[in-house]
């Protein structure tokens, strides 16, 4: 789902911090540092994320000419998620425990040893797992200090605002109903604070 899809959900964020001077050169560097690491195509991490080109999410390189578009910064957050089926993990962990018991000559392993073996097995299986790949687009209107993000899911929005702050050093605030009304009322927040629900029936 993204900006070029025929239908997509959007969340709006506003910046909660100042734009640095000469931001373009600085952001080039910071976006590059937080770009999706394609070398992690085979990894033992369950979830990896980073910036990609919205039109070319599988490309290794991120062309800055397509990132800085007029008054906008356009990027996609790519999230790769790998999972190991629980029954497969249990089976392989039991095999590994049996091997460890045979090698050590002990009848039982400690709880800690079993947990460590399970993590080891999980890491090995993750290396062989194919990721589920999702991309979510963001459009940052530099002058309006507004960011549009192509998902409304709470968890994805949290992950996005985390990546945004790590990259640009500026916290994002999600626009909520009250926040929008406060802005639209021209700063008449005291009238808004006094408002009580209307009795419609």
């Amino acid at each position: 789902m993204g900006i070029l899809s025929s239908s997509s959900g959007y969340t709006r964020f506003r910046l909660s911090g100042e734009m640095p001077d000469a931001y373009e050169a600085l952001f080039h560097l910071q976006i590059g540092r937080n770009a999706f690491d394609h070398s992690e195509g085979s990894t033992d991490k369950e979830r990896i994320r980073g910036w990609v080109d919205p039109a070319r999410p599988f490309d290794d390189s991120l062309d800055m000419d397509s990132v800085f578009v007029g008054d906008y910064i356009v990027l996609s957050m790519r999230v790769d998620k790998r999972t190991v089926p629980p029954r497969l993990l249990k089976h392989h962990a039991m095999l590994e425990e049996a091997r460890a018991r045979a090698e050590s000559g002990r009848e039982r392993l400690s709880r800690r040893e079993r947990l460590e073996l399970k993590e080891l097995v999980k890491g090995r299986l993750l290396l062989r797992a194919l990721p589920a790949i999702n991309t979510y687009d963001m459009v940052w209107d530099i002058h309006k200090e507004t960011v549009y993000f192509s998902s409304t899911a709470e968890k994805i929005c949290d992950e996005f605002s985390g990546l945004f702050e790590e990259t640009f050093g500026i916290p994002l605030v999600r626009r909520y109903t009250y926040d929008i009304f406060a802005e639209m009322s021209g700063g008449n927040s005291s009238a808004l604070e006094r408002m009580a629900p209307a009795q419609l029936i």
Partner: protein, 187 residues
């Protein structure tokens, strides 16, 4: 009051906004002159979600209808349910936008903008031009939402609200109770 507490306490404004929008659409034919001068014509789509208890989605009821009147939803409103989200369409300059508006956040869910050149089959359009065109179409939807929010909140904060708007809105909500026997489905 801290910020989170304030957001929670004022969530009712989003539900009132959606109710007011539907009332205005019904009573004015859906034409809104937005601050800034843009004219749009809005209508309610085929899906409205109503909630009994705003804190619980378990107590929600979704009304669907091919009939734009959505009379079952009007009946539920008259029974005291609140609008949690609604599918809305609007037309401006001969083009149509559609989105689902959620009361709690005013995010635009399932936003469908007018088609861009590529969607129209013009494959030779520049990718960058397409992207910019699409960005502007998305921003126009948010601008329309902001304009409507401004109309509502200015009316809600004015003296006119208690004297004119609120009695008319209450009468419109009550009139929904007489609409149950007409078409419109609940599932």
């Amino acid at each position: 009051m801290d910020a989170l507490e304030l957001l929670k306490k004022k969530e009712f404004l989003g539900r009132e906004f959606l109710t007011w929008l539907w009332f205005k659409i019904d009573s004015t034919g859906g034409e809104f002159l937005l601050p800034g001068g843009a004219m749009i014509r809005m209508w309610v789509g085929n899906r409205v979600m109503l909630v009994s208890d705003p804190d619980s989605v378990d107590a929600s009821v979704v009304c669907w209808s091919e009939d734009a009147g959505l009379r079952e939803a009007r009946f539920a409103l008259a029974e005291g349910k609140k609008i949690g989200e609604a599918r809305l369409h609007y037309e401006a300059d001969g083009e149509e936008w559609a989105f689902t508006l959620e009361a709690a956040r005013l995010d635009l869910k399932s936003l469908k903008t007018p088609s861009t050149k590529r969607e129209d089959g013009e494959d030779d359009a520049e990718p960058l031009a397409l992207l910019l065109e699409k960005i502007l179409l998305v921003q126009r939807a948010f601008n329309a939402l902001d304009g409507l929010a401004r109309l509502f909140i200015n009316s809600r904060a004015s003296e006119r609200w208690a004297d004119d708007e609120m009695p008319a809105l209450t009468a419109w909500v009550a009139a929904g109770s007489r609409a149950k026997d007409v078409s419109g489905g609940v599932r």
